[in-house]
Symmetry: C2
Subunit: 373 residues, 2 copies
């Protein structure tokens, strides 16, 4: 077995250890971390002698019975056709971008109707936005306002479709929500989207109390939420009372372990070798991918607002999410984490699934605890 | 491709949809959950027509650069030799159990010395225990006391080695800790271990204020922590002010999705087809595996104390952990979650690794917030 020998074909220290004690000891050597300490150390020492990549065999993932029947349909959906097709040039990206935003959008009408939300298009700070207002706005939320930044790899979902997550938050959380239709690659790479988000944030905080505000978004929108916080913090702009980055794309340099462990397990993004990695380069536009305002995991999180982060066990960006959570905690920021069983990237946004209402309800409760009335 | 056709070899609705719009649309269809809503719904409908198991190809997992060098040695360690060897009979289990507890344990001496902890053996409520006391006991912790339940699949780590996690908590958190050397399978299956834990809990709460107490443990010890809470809650016994189940083994019936997704990704437990699944049967001793006091995920979590749960992205029991977290939250219990990058089962217990100190520090801070001084 490959894991029993080092690169030179010699027995590893671990193999020798097992050999020395005989086959009967082998299962105990497999137990170490389950509460044992000494073998843990032995494993660390064996690893220190030769930390190495691990071969994982092909496997079949059943549809889990541990999620709602509605979500089982989503978890059990096949890989999206053509996930690995990357546009050859800017025109190819533009054409996909247009398709990703092209209406009509019956699902948006269904969300507005079922969750009782009204939506209007407007401009704030010169930037196009969609404003979602719940028909039953609770008294406590009359002076509160959320800023929403949509996902789509900084390329997809221009126009109203990008505001869908904002409409769901307005419906489930009964907050007023401003969704930013920010400029995107290929025509407007970094920092255009961040500039647009900043312009709206500045305009909104000029006439609203930031202590009554929160910022949220998923995937690229979660990364952009954190980038906006880094920029505002460094520039001395007001910060909101809370943020909610969902499956945030915080490391466009692709260092997260879940890009390997959840590759082909995630049935949304599938693998960074698909369009995601290409979109990172497109958005960065020649800037280093580990630039903190592009990949906020490389920034300074000290002083950021309380945060709630959301992911799924099959999410290709699970590591992006939990790395951001840990870095916030290490910086002394109050930060909550919720991870949903069996969900691939951003599947907590799937409309009309029980787990989605649960995710939004948690985020709304977090906002309610942190925002001044 | 298997994911493009249903069981009858017919094109799926998804394939037909992609076909109808042409190949150029395919990558957009892969984007849906990244903030988009309409294709999400389309995917759900396609899945509803045919939710199915997913084939995951063989892969190579690099050692992540996103963890400390000390932890890289642990993450990059090969699969433990003989992880899949299951004892043929009770004598085989007994022999492994003895080996798992056999000293000397130089790592325990190192923990006591470096973390400045004194340990004594004693009996409480008639049950053997190890009491860990930090040499510098903070004034705030003088009247506080933690109960520790060790891991090891309800079979392994009798004696002092099982108290190692308790010594680390005493050292990192500077709390007094009582570690229970409870009876285990094969000679003492369920409910012997739970009975022993209950006896110690009753004896301790007779002379200590439960509001100044917490209960914690990892793996089987995390499951046992929750089982003890279910039993105490149902019996009207006092409950502690907080609990900390780490990578808790809450579903011995094996329904968790991560048993599939992290099989052969986790380099500690490796796969439920190894000793873990056999230990579940051994511990249950003929009782149904979904008995709530055996698999607490099937119990009623209403009224349980505030909890902090810990896991790793490669943990075979990641889903056990996050399912318990979500169930606690749905029951209205305050519950925090922390997940560590690249860590397999219970690797947050690896001594003298920065991430371990981080994990213990979080748990200790959670206890400090919830326990009466």
């Amino acid at each position: 077995m490959a894991d029993r020998r080092n690169g030179k074909g010699e027995p590893t220290r671990r193999t020798m250890l097992a050999g020395a004690f005989g086959a009967a000891l082998a299962p105990v050597l497999s137990v170490p971390f389950a509460g044992l300490l000494m073998p843990t150390r032995a494993a660390a020492e064996a690893g220190a002698a030769m930390p190495m990549a691990r071969e994982v065999p092909a496997r079949l993932l059943p549809v889990p019975s541990t999620v709602s029947p509605e979500l089982q349909a989503v978890v059990g959906a096949p890989l999206p056709a053509g996930w690995q097709d990357i546009p050859a040039d800017a025109d190819g990206w533009r054409s996909l971008q247009r398709l990703s935003g092209a209406g009509p959008h019956p699902i948006l009408a269904e969300i507005r109707q079922k969750l009782r939300v009204d939506v209007t298009a407007d401009k704030i700070g010169g930037i196009p936005v969609f404003i979602s207002t719940p028909r039953d706005l609770p008294v406590a939320n009359r002076n509160r306002l959320l800023l929403h930044l949509h996902g789509g790899g900084y390329v997809f979902f221009p126009g109203e479709i990008g505001a869908g997550e904002g409409m769901m938050m307005a419906g489930y959380g009964r907050f007023r929500v401003v969704s930013v239709d920010y400029r995107m690659a290929p025509d407007f790479p970094f920092p255009a989207g961040l500039d647009d988000a900043t312009a709206v944030w500045k305009a909104l905080t000029a006439s609203n109390d930031p202590k009554r505000m929160a910022v949220f978004g998923t995937s690229a929108g979660g990364g952009l939420t954190l980038s906006l916080m880094l920029k505002a913090n460094a520039a001395g702009l007001p910060l909101p009372a809370a943020i909610a980055p969902g499956s945030p794309w915080v490391d466009l340099a692709g260092k997260s372990d879940s890009l390997a462990t959840n590759a082909f397990v995630d049935n949304v993004l599938v693998s960074e070798t698909g369009w995601l990695g290409a979109a990172a380069e497109l958005y960065a536009g020649g800037q280093p991918l580990d630039t903190p305002l592009i990949s906020p995991i490389y920034g300074d999180f000290a002083g950021l607002p309380p945060a709630i982060l959301t992911s799924g066990t099959r999410d290709l960006l699970l590591s992006d999410t939990i790395r951001a959570h840990r870095k916030l905690r290490r910086a002394g920021v109050e930060a909550a984490l919720q991870v949903f069983e069996g969900e691939s990237h951003a599947q907590f946004l799937t409309p009309f699934v029980p787990e989605t209402e649960e995710a939004f309800t948690e985020i709304a409760a977090f906002f309610d605890r942190h925002l001044t009335v």
